[in-house]
């Protein structure tokens, strides 16, 4: 900008305006560049997984073909062998049972705990709430050794019901923490109104708090589901026979023999294993994002 332009207020205004527009445009371009880079970075592995799952073993073995495309046509051969000739369906069933049980146990415990800790102020409630979160910070790679003793003591070693007992130690603290935050964000007049309307604490929880905190409950459910669906360390340590195994460990141990990787089936298995979380995310995302609390009080 010239000295003349600076000394002229009108020119200066134009200058400021255009530089604001320019900097906004740059911010937008930079944002898009990084978003595209991140999208590519995160989408390459799933893409590779999908492409590989639909290839034949022969095509994979041929080094001359481009690994990023399906050259010999799509085949469902990998899925057929995986479902018919391996224990994949058993793993899938075990995982589903464990996950559904863990999600139910987690949500019951954490909703009740969060309601008590977040809304019913009592002596030591905030210390307890922090304590619960701290337990989440201890990694499962440390916990599995003492946990092994407990599971063994209960006679649940190599039994997937042991996982139903163990996974909530990962999910409950975090879900409780999320729910405490949600419950605390609900205006306190809402429970006072319910108290005056004649509701007891449980009626208040089930008829007011759970419906209003639904986005939070769904967020916590998704978290509990993902954690127990994808858990690896505990089943690796506690389960060893094929009929008790879950998807994560089962797929890897049965499809990698020594240094032989059955890539096609591994990818087909990974694709099938990734499907339920994907479907759940897709269905619940709208709820997850929608703020149901709007309109409760003056916005």
């Amino acid at each position: 900008m010239t000295v003349a332009a600076l000394s002229n207020p009108a020119a200066r205004r134009v200058g400021v305006g255009s530089s604001l527009r320019r900097s906004r445009r740059w911010a937008l371009i930079t944002a898009y560049v990084f978003l595209v880079l991140f999208a590519i970075f995160f989408l390459i592995p799933p893409y590779y997984m999908i492409v590989t799952a639909f290839k034949s073993d022969a095509e994979m073995a041929r080094m001359a073909t481009n690994p990023w495309i399906i050259a010999d046509g799509v085949t469902l051969e990998q899925f057929r062998i995986l479902l018919n000739n391996t224990d994949f369906l058993i793993y899938f069933k075990n995982t589903a049972i464990v996950t559904v049980c863990v999600v139910i146990i987690t949500m019951v415990i954490s909703v009740l705990a969060a309601f008590a800790l977040g809304r019913m102020r009592f002596w030591g409630s905030s210390i307890l709430a922090t304590g619960i979160f701290l337990t989440y910070l201890v990694p499962d790679t440390l916990l599995f050794i003492p946990m092994f003793q407990i599971v063994k003591g209960l006679g649940l070693l190599n039994n997937y019901w042991g996982m139903v007992l163990v996974y909530p130690t990962l999910t409950v603290p975090f879900c409780t923490w999320i729910m405490i935050g949600y419950f605390q964000s609900i205006p306190k007049e809402l429970d006072e109104a319910a108290l005056i309307d004649g509701a007891g604490h449980l009626q208040m929880l089930f008829r007011i708090f759970i419906p209003v905190a639904l986005p939070g409950i769904i967020a916590a459910t998704i978290f509990a589901f993902t954690v127990s669906w994808a858990a690896f360390v505990y089943p690796m340590a506690f389960l060893y026979s094929s009929d008790q195994q879950v998807l994560t460990v089962g797929t890897v141990t049965s499809l990698i023999r020594g240094d032989v990787y059955k890539w096609g089936m591994l990818m087909a298995g990974a694709l099938l294993a990734a499907a339920p979380p994907l479907v759940i995310y897709a269905f619940l995302m709208d709820y997850y994002i929608a703020g149901l609390t709007a309109g409760a009080t003056k916005g």
């Binding site: 006072e192 005056i196 309307d197 004649g198 409760a296």
Partner: protein, 365 residues
């Protein structure tokens, strides 16, 4: 329908005393407004009546029964909150009927009561809507509906109009008064807005610092405030307070506010003020009692000249501000007689409306 009584009620939050031993009797069907600045204990008092706060000491009676240890649901009260506190996942109908459903009323009875309340509040069309789809005023009506359907012994309102814009507030104020005339129920209403208090109340309870300053009808509080606080709190703009000295001479009693200005004390008041002669006092005079000269311009010793600092035309009247001995004074004059800021204007004090306050005790003499 019930009377409410508070007997030496105290509320402490730790070491802080929010309510300091208040006594209050509210007869059946009366509309009582608790008014005062923030932190004066009015909301805490209301919440203790509702059962949302425990009473530290003292007794609260509703309908002759001590309710200190009763939970809110057993007190048969209904409350309207400042931010409406509607259940966001329920329609207006469900919001209004929630209390009745919990109390296991029959479906027919619930429908009949909700529809009746909706007719009173003119919200029949809105019963299927969720709070999100309602405007502020409509939400407040639904919140009132939720209180009305219960047909409780006592209505409690906690600053219900504070979140509404000025126009809607006036409209809802009238609405609340209309509803109270239709649904005769003992009502305790908390507000910090003295205009709301004056317009709605049968009796106003002015609170300050956890204590009741004065209880009385709106007119009584306006014309006969007992303390400096009440005198300053009731009325808008607030009463002017001017340091003064009471003089007695052969001609009578005079109240002197500056070397130049002294007003004759009306003979009706003189006897009351006799003991305060020669003392430093505070003269309280409302802006509406400082006007342009009236009585056909006849000077009865209450006229004086003032150089105006600020002039605020409001349409039907003009506010004038000037200074006497470093104290800002506000007057209310006819727009046609107002002069420009900086000019000198002849004004008249309506001294028959004067109040004299003892600065040591802040009590009106």
């Amino acid at each position: 329908m019930a009377e409410v009584a508070l007997r030496q009620v105290v509320k402490k939050f730790g070491e802080v005393e929010a309510v300091r031993s208040i006594d209050l009797d509210i007869p059946n069907n009366e509309f009582v407004v608790l008014v005062g600045p923030s932190g004066c204990g009015k909301s805490t008092t209301l919440r203790m009546i509702a059962g949302l706060e425990e009473v530290t000491s003292g007794e609260i009676c509703i309908g002759g029964e001590v309710v200190n240890d009763l939970p809110p649901r057993d007190r048969d009260i209904a409350m309207v909150f400042q931010n409406y506190a509607l259940y966001p996942h329920m329609t207006a109908f469900e919001n209004m009927s929630f209390g009745l459903r919990l109390r296991k009323f029959s479906k027919a009875e619930i429908r009949q009561r909700v529809e009746h309340a909706a007719r009173i509040l003119d919200i029949t069309e809105l019963l299927d809507r969720r709070p999100k789809a309602l405007s502020g005023g409509q939400r407040q009506r639904v919140a009132m509906g939720r209180a009305i359907v219960r047909n409780p012994k006592v209505f409690l309102f906690d600053e219900p109009l504070s979140n509404l814009d000025a126009k809607l507030r006036v409209q809802m104020r009238t609405e609340i008064k209309r509803v109270h005339q239709k649904v005769k129920t003992t009502t305790v209403y908390v507000t910090h807005d003295q205009v709301e208090a004056m317009t709605l109340a049968d009796r106003v309870v002015v609170m300050n610092n956890g204590r009741i300053e004065q209880i009385g009808s709106p007119q009584e509080l306006y014309h006969h405030p007992r303390t400096r606080f009440v005198a300053g709190f009731i009325g808008s703009p607030a009463m002017n307070f001017l340091p003064c000295q009471l003089e007695q001479n052969a001609a009578g009693m005079r109240v002197r506010i500056s070397e130049m200005i002294a007003f004759p004390v009306p003979p009706t008041n003189a006897a009351r003020y006799r003991s305060a002669v020669d003392k430093q006092l505070i003269l309280g005079l409302r802006p509406e009692h400082i006007t342009e000269p009236r009585h056909n311009g006849r000077d009865d010793g209450c006229q004086f000249a003032a150089t105006l600092d600020v002039v605020e035309p409001l349409g039907m009247e003009t506010m004038v501000f000037f200074t006497v001995n470093d104290t800002e004074v506000c007057g209310r004059v006819e727009p046609s007689s107002a002069v420009e800021a900086g000019a000198t204007m002849r004004l008249q004090a309506g001294i028959e409306h004067m109040h004299l306050i003892d600065p040591a005790s802040d009590v009106v003499l």
